[in-house]
Amino acid sequence: MGSGAAGLGWLLACALVAALVLLPVLSLAGHALQGSGELWPHLLAYVLPQALRDSLILLAGVGVLVVLVGSGTAWLVTAYDFPGRRVLGWVLLLPLAVPTYIVAFAYLDLWHPVGALQTGLRELLGYSNPRDFRLPDIRSMWGCILLLGFVLYPYVYLPARALFQMQASGLIDASRTLGAGPFRCFFGIALPLARPAIAVGASLALMEALNDIGAAEFLGVRTFTVSIYSTWVNRSSLAGAAQIALVMLAVVLSLIALERWARRRQRYAAGARQAARLAPRRLSAGRGLLATAVCALPVLLGFLVPAGYLVVEAAKRFNYAGLEQIILRETFNTVLISAIATLAATALAFLLAYTLRLVRTPFANALVRCASLGYAVPGTVLAIGLLAPLAWFDAFIDSASTSLFGLSTGLLLSGSGAALAYAYVARFLAVGSGGIEAGFSKIPHSMDDAARSLGASAGRVARRVHLPLGRPAIAAAMLLIFVDCMKELPATLLLRPLNFETLATHLYGEAARGTYESGAIAALLIVLAGLLPIVLLARVGQGSATAPQAGAAAALPSV
């Protein structure tokens, strides 16, 4: 049958995509194994123990915090009625718009001993000298845990709320008719049911924490990412960086394994039928205000304070220097490279999602999952893994071109930003394919069959049926990929061409130098872009498991 041959072509294309995504990881393994053996004892003695310890403490702390804040606020806004509940329901998502390096950037300046916060506090308390009164230094492990926790908790909040609202509500109704009070409803029914969703969300948050470069570095926490980066940048040792990266990858894999284990019995959660929304329980005035305060605190810490700071600082800078040329150029760079990567990633994501639909076999599924693995690979690891193949490729093309045409192409990929786009596509492909897959799942398979029986080829069905019907999901996927690219820092730092600055790298540079002022405008622009998908998320439906979430969840590779 024709569909068999066509399916083969689609599968081959997917295999190629998967190979390109996996290339950095394989190259990394190769490099680490053949790498200079003399470095290993040094890494093992001085670098790895601290990287491992710091990373694990950070992950544990952030994990506990995001689960507590995320599921706690999700339960409050779902099950209780209190002042501001509706607004809080969606503003609790806002910290998603603030990348971890920006929140650290903002708080470093705010919390500085002579910064606005501590100066104000001293005045209030009547101290004149910073030496007499000083808050604990934020540049510490606990500072890093708190900051990351309060921007990353929405990863738990969103799926937990969706589950509480949709799937668990019928069961909670049932448990109430059986005499269960609020305590039993939450701990006996809602929490066990939400466990898989919370596990997914928490693992996403932890991936972000592991992936973070700015916050950890600024706050003096030597995570894997920071160690890899400094091994490469300061010691110029690719083998050493590759070796740490490989260990980090092992940590990521165990994180994924842990997440799989935590949601090992997920099937039943998905089986519950969608019931009426949970009718929230009215709280008394005092308790209601307490609930309002509890839900407002994460928004305040994770969004309002840093965003407010950025607005004030950006306004100052704007009044002082206007819109500098350099910001415009960086914005242009950022948008251009992100747009290119978005288009490529979306096209490939469509290919993956459609192939999975066309060829419904475990093999196709495995192939698509492999191609989605990039999302789990931290940006630094991906970049380190790409460095060697890119250098080899550029050198190969250059020498071939020189010998054939007597024309040097120089660093074709690395120098042009193509390498950066490649890294973006590899990393965010899963965001797109997950979202598009979720969108396709609403198109009944009978439609494909009908179109095929009317004589349309697989390609034509994709073009005429799935492209138009999947448009909302595709558009949402594009938006998400675009914003993710704009915010990306670790891979950008390592792979950008010489003298090519994006908003994120500019901000990083300013923060590294301790000159915060002119970074504020760049940071504000990134946060504003980050708000777009959140507005979409809030509009798509209060509580429904939305495309980004589905995308992110689907992005977790099946191990």
Binding site: S175, T177, L178, G271, A275, A276, R281
Partner: protein, 383 residues
């Protein structure tokens, strides 16, 4: 069959220690009564319930029927306490449990509920599901009671299984056992059979009715299926657009519908329009008495297919009709008849009669009419 019921004086919802004897509904001692009075409810601008009142005697099974969106499920959720009362009141045994100001929480009401999707807790075994509502009992008694309830619905062997391992019918039984286990004061059932296939449904509704009657607990069941309502109910309340149109025994609703809607809801009807003349409406099957209708008023006559029956030739008042189509359905046959109208036209009516009365190939038939299957309404009611 009678099930022995253990004496459980300290069951959470049981306010009457003597409930442990299985008895028929009519003889329930100390059963509970429910009264809902003047309930109005709306979601946003949309009115869902308009002035609904109902009462339930001890041990009685009331079925709320009506097309989807008529407000019956909302009414059930109000009774359970899952929705707050906006206007009107709900009382159990004369004590108000919900009105515009008061809202006894669902977990404090002692009202059991079986949900449409059964709502079994997927992470708990059957035993733990059924034991869930028995939290106030010591562990040993809780277990014993849960096992007893599971045994009563024939699933005692599967106490440790997870809900998803069960078939739909078994899940329904567990849901019923779970709701009954704490001996609720009242039971609410929200379309409990709608997720099951037809054969199973017939079987389970008999079983469910028996269990409810044995427990002697007054129950309100929501369904959109008129057959199910007539089978299950002691009394039926027919709802439409947020109001109770008519309430009464199944026979009353079937034989004395108050509106054309009620007549049509519970069975097929042939419709005929005419004017009242001499206290009667003339139809192709003779004059039908139209009591209470003014002379000359427009009326609509509804005739149930089974009210039309064959008579021997020569019977006074018999009317000849042409058999256009005949379908043998087993014991009954469904016929399409053609009858001459008063205006000289022809009308086609459906008739249902024992197959023995209409041999195959029959072309002509003498017909009579049973009066209890014929209803006359003023035409404006029909609109």
């Amino acid at each position: 069959m009678r099930f022995p019921v253990m004496k459980m004086p300290d069951l959470p919802f049981s306010s009457h220690p003597a409930v442990g004897v299985a008895v028929g509904a009519s003889a329930v001692a100390g059963g509970h009564r429910l009264a809902a009075d003047g309930l109005w409810h709306s979601f946003g601008a949309a009115g869902v319930l308009r002035d609904v009142s109902l009462s339930l005697a001890p041990g009685e099974i009331l079925c709320l029927v009506g097309p989807s969106g008529c407000g019956k499920s909302t009414l059930l959720r109000l009774l359970a306490g899952l929705e707050r009362v906006q206007r009107g009141s709900i009382a159990v045994d004369g004590e108000v449990i919900a009105d515009a100001r008061r809202h006894v929480l669902p977990e404090k009401r002692g009202i059991g509920m079986v949900f449409q999707d059964f709502a079994l807790f997927p992470h708990l075994s059957l035993l733990d599901n059924v034991a869930f509502g028995l939290a106030s009992l010591p562990a040993a008694q809780r277990r014993a009671r849960a096992l007893e309830m599971l045994a009563r619905v024939g699933l005692g062997e599967r106490a440790q299984d997870a809900p998803h391992a069960l078939s739909g019918g078994q899940q329904q039984r567990v849901a019923l056992a779970r709701a009954l286990a704490p001996q609720p004061r009242l039971m609410l059932l929200d379309e409990p059979f709608s997720n099951l296939d037809v054969r199973l449904r017939h079987h389970l509704r008999a079983e469910t009715r028996q269990l409810l009657k044995e427990g002697g607990v007054a129950s309100v069941m929501v369904t959109h299926d008129p057959d199910e309502a007539m089978f299950m109910a002691d009394r039926i309340a027919l709802m439409r657009a947020g109001r109770i149109l008519q309430a009464g025994s199944p026979a009353e609703l079937y034989h004395h519908p108050a509106t054309p809607f009620a007549a049509e809801f519970f069975g097929e009807v042939n419709r005929y329009r005419g004017k009242v003349s001499g206290g009667q409406v003339a139809t192709p099957l003779g004059g039908i008495a139209a009591p209470g209708l003014a002379e000359g008023a427009h009326a609509e006559v509804l005739l149930r297919p089974e009210a039309i029956h064959p008579v021997a030739a020569g019977t006074p008042g018999a009317i000849a009709a042409k058999v256009v189509e005949a379908h043998m359905l087993g014991a009954c046959s469904l016929l399409t008849l053609e009858l001459p109208d008063a205006d000289g036209g022809l009308v086609r009516w459906q008739a249902q009669m024992p197959s023995a009365a209409c041999p195959t190939g029959i072309e002509q038939m003498q017909l009579g009419l049973y009066p209890d299957g014929v209803f006359v309404f003023p035409l404006e009611l029909a609109a």
